[in-house]
């Protein structure tokens, strides 16, 4: 009733302003305008502008300047930073490391998350407690997580001591000492930290599946393996889209966990791009580090757009 009441004068108002669309859509727009006037967007818009839009644009601009700790002025220098960065092999090595890291984080986070969600799907008390426990790492500081794992995995650390106890001899392996496998282990740590979040999203996906569908499958004689892979997993498509996209793209911006566990070592094998950006910033080369973060932004966009497009199309096909 209040809608009808509000629509009356609004229609007239629109007409007076020269609106000539059909009355129905006119009144709808007017109601929307009345209930959600554009100025409600101003606070959020202002925050977005100041803290997101302006810094992003500045990131684009500063990348093409000679901004550094050593000069009192800033002037444009074209593609200078770009050229000097590409001549330096470290940038490409670190970009590759970043991609490897992001791939493994997405893999581990989603695998762990999905397994947890499937096992903890039923709403029993034990499962509720377990869900909370597995969600705790998500709330922990990434640095704390990194330092804890660093202590666990160092030579003669907690893991070695446990293994020594069972093996009956001293095992002294520096788990983060391999230039090949450290990146995988660090990715697993990051995946472990965020698995609780993936679990939560997969759980909510599982909860939206219609009981009738599952019951029908059961009556048709499908076993639980088939039910999962033929019905549940495809219907989790929206959750997969969200989880894969956020874990892959989010970990490309990783920094803290890697810094705390390996600081980019051994031998630079776990130096993801943001560590290099930070190292360069510390040298006072601000515009070079800005250029690097611009490059990272571009790489993320190049991956994000087709990935999300593909995952959405997959959803549309299934659902």
């Amino acid at each position: 009733m209040s809608d009808a009441f509000a629509a009356g004068p609004a229609e007239k108002g629109r007409k007076r302003l020269g609106g000539n669309r059909s009355i129905g859509s006119n009144s709808e727009t007017a109601v929307m305008k009345k209930n959600y006037p554009l100025r409600f967007l101003v606070p959020a818009g202002a925050i977005l502008l100041v803290f997101f839009f302006v810094p992003t644009v500045l990131n684009f601009i500063y990348a093409f300047t000679d901004w550094s700790a050593f000069k009192t002025t800033i002037s444009f220098n074209g593609f200078d930073n770009f050229m000097s960065l590409f001549k330096n092999g470290i940038l490409l090595r670190d970009l590759r490391t970043t991609l490897v890291f992001a791939f493994f984080v997405a893999l581990f986070q989603n695998t762990f998350g999905l397994i947890l969600a499937v096992f903890l799907e039923k709403d029993t008390t034990e499962n509720r407690i377990a869900r909370v426990l597995f969600f705790i790492p998500v709330l922990m500081s990434a640095l704390a997580v990194g330092y804890v794992w660093q202590a666990v995995l160092q030579a003669n650390g907690a893991l070695d001591q446990i293994l020594s106890f069972f093996a009956g001899r001293t095992i002294s392996t520096a788990w983060l000492g391999s230039t090949t496998w450290s990146i995988v282990i660090v990715s697993a740590i990051q995946g472990w930290k965020w698995a609780g979040l993936a679990m939560l999203i997969y759980l909510s996906g599982l909860k939206t599946i219609d009981e009738d569908v599952l019951e029908a499958a059961e009556i048709d004689g499908a076993n639980s393996w088939q039910i999962f892979w033929k019905i549940k997993f495809p219907l989790l498509a929206p959750a997969v889209t969200f989880n894969v996209a956020t874990s892959l793209l989010g970990s490309m911006n990783g920094f803290d966990t890697v810094q705390a566990t390996t600081a980019g070592g051994p031998g630079g094998s776990t130096e993801i791009l943001n560590l290099f950006v930070w190292r360069t910033f510390g040298q006072g080369l601000y515009s070079q580090s800005t250029m690097m973060s611009l490059l990272l932004f571009i790489v993320v966009m190049i991956i994000a757009i087709p990935l999300i497009w593909y995952l959405r199309r997959r959803e549309a096909k299934i659902l």
Partner: protein
């Protein structure tokens, strides 16, 4: 109806306001090229003016100073802060900035967060950026300046002949700390007198197969920073001959003969199997413990590593003197390479508040006069002042390191115009992910970038 009209108008207004903001931001960005660096100013302070250096213990009620420190150094000023607060009524807040201190502090300073005082590596390469941005107070003509011992403040703390950092302790030196028990067991009677003798001594320890000694040398590739000592000590004679001046002008390079040879010699030590098996991942703490426990014979070290070893020994002078010794080594002789570290120097920032700036200088004056005796006694370190005696509990290795400063050369940090991440690249070499040539090239590239940013000719 009027109300509706007003709403539509006002929503248009907000659209216009947002558009206005976007345009304003765009205009501001567009004129950026003409803008100055927001973090910069120039300096013509007269440090000789009367009252520039306030009396050490003058009253300073209701003044609060912020002092930044790295996690390694944050215990050092506790005593002097306490004494200063008691003597003057001022308050000094000690703030620890997390690792890597220099990078994090630099980031904070660039974004506008500055302290009043801070520990800072008093070297040319590390002060350049702060001075160029006009962040630091000039500290020339301090009343205690004349009291410094020889060699302490000749090079350290200066930038283009102006003082920006006060030396509160003897600059750290790069040299070799060795375990006397291991030397005895290996039959080594005298300390090596040059690089070749050093390598021979390491080989002798290895060949002696002493029970309990895992490796003659020990590297901390996991912590990275110590990897540069072995390379830098070899450059002492070249540095004496103007190596870093040539590098600064682009006439010599990290890929040049001298530095390349030093890197390759360092790698040879690994090829000969003289280092610990986990050299690539071991941490500094493991290295210090290995020397103290006699699991290794020698480590390249600076003062901070010896401080950590002293802590392992419970700061027991007699135990330390019996077990740990120090000798400087260079390519052809026994030069010590000086590397003032982040706890040797203190800088004072321009805060814009003249009262706090003066109070900061007063704090430094207090530290180096009324407060100095208590400071070095509590820290158990060598005095850098002629008029204050060192405590008699300072370990012999520290005394030897300080003594060696009289026959010393400045390090890369002190003489080069930039401090590139040589140690990071060397750690990569220790881990086998870079060749010596790649270490040299990567370091040179970064050095050239910083030199170019500084506007140096030839880059």
């Amino acid at each position: 109806m009027k109300l509706i009209q007003w709403k539509i108008d006002s929503s248009r207004k907000s659209v216009r306001a947002v558009a206005g903001l976007v345009i304003a931001a765009g205009l501001c960005l567009g004129t950026l090229a003409g803008c100055g660096n927001p973090a910069a100013s120039s300096d013509d302070t007269d440090t000789k003016a009367s009252g520039y250096w306030p009396e050490a213990s003058a009253k300073l009620d209701s003044v609060t100073l912020k002092f930044w420190s790295s996690p390694q150094a944050n215990k050092i000023p506790v005593q002097v802060i306490k004494d200063f607060q008691k003597a003057t009524g001022a308050k000094v807040d000690l703030v620890t900035i997390p690792e890597v201190y220099e990078n994090n502090a630099q980031t904070k300073i660039t974004t506008g967060d500055t302290p009043d005082l801070a520990f800072w590596q008093p070297t040319r390469s590390m002060m350049t950026g702060l001075v160029a941005q006009g962040k630091l107070q000039k500290l020339d003509n301090a009343p205690f300046e004349k009291n410094y011992k020889k060699g302490i403040d000749d090079e350290a703390g200066l930038y283009k002949n102006s003082r920006y950092a006060i030396m509160v302790s003897a600059p750290s030196t790069m040299g070799v700390y060795y375990n006397k028990d291991v030397f005895k067991a290996a039959g080594l009677e005298a300390v090596p007198k040059n690089w070749n003798e050093f390598v021979a001594a390491a080989q002798k320890i290895k060949d002696a197969n002493i029970p309990g000694v895992d490796s003659p040398l020990f590297e901390m590739g996991g912590s990275q920073w110590g990897t540069q000592w072995a390379v830098q000590v070899q450059l002492a004679e070249a540095a004496q001959g103007g190596l870093w001046d040539r590098v600064n002008q682009g006439k010599d390079k990290f890929t040049g003969k001298d530095i390349m040879a030093a890197i390759t010699n360092y790698q040879d030590l690994f090829k000969k199997g003289l280092y610990n098996a986990d050299a690539g991942s071991a941490k500094d703490t493991a290295q210090e413990k290995a020397l103290w426990d006699g699991k290794t014979g020698m480590i390249f070290g600076n003062a901070s590593q010896f401080l950590a070893i002293s802590a392992l020994a419970g700061n027991d002078k007699s135990a330390l003197d019996k077990k740990i010794g120090y000798f400087p080594v260079s390519k052809d002789g026994n030069y010590t390479t000086i590397i003032p570290d982040g706890s040797n120097g203190v800088v004072a920032f321009k805060s814009g508040d003249s009262k706090r700036e003066a109070a900061s200088r007063q704090f430094l004056n207090f530290w180096m006069t009324d407060g100095y005796k208590a400071f070095i006694k509590q820290q158990n370190i060598i005095s850098v002042l002629k008029n204050v005696d060192s405590p008699n509990t300072v370990p012999q290795a520290s005394l030897d390191a300080a003594q060696s400063i009289q026959h010393s050369v400045g390090s890369m940090q002190l003489q080069a115009l930039a401090n590139p991440d040589l140690y990071v690249n060397l750690a990569s070499m220790v881990n086998g992910t870079m060749t010596p040539e790649q270490v040299a090239q990567t370091t040179q590239d970064q050095f050239a970038q910083v030199a170019k940013a500084q506007g140096v000719k030839g880059f």
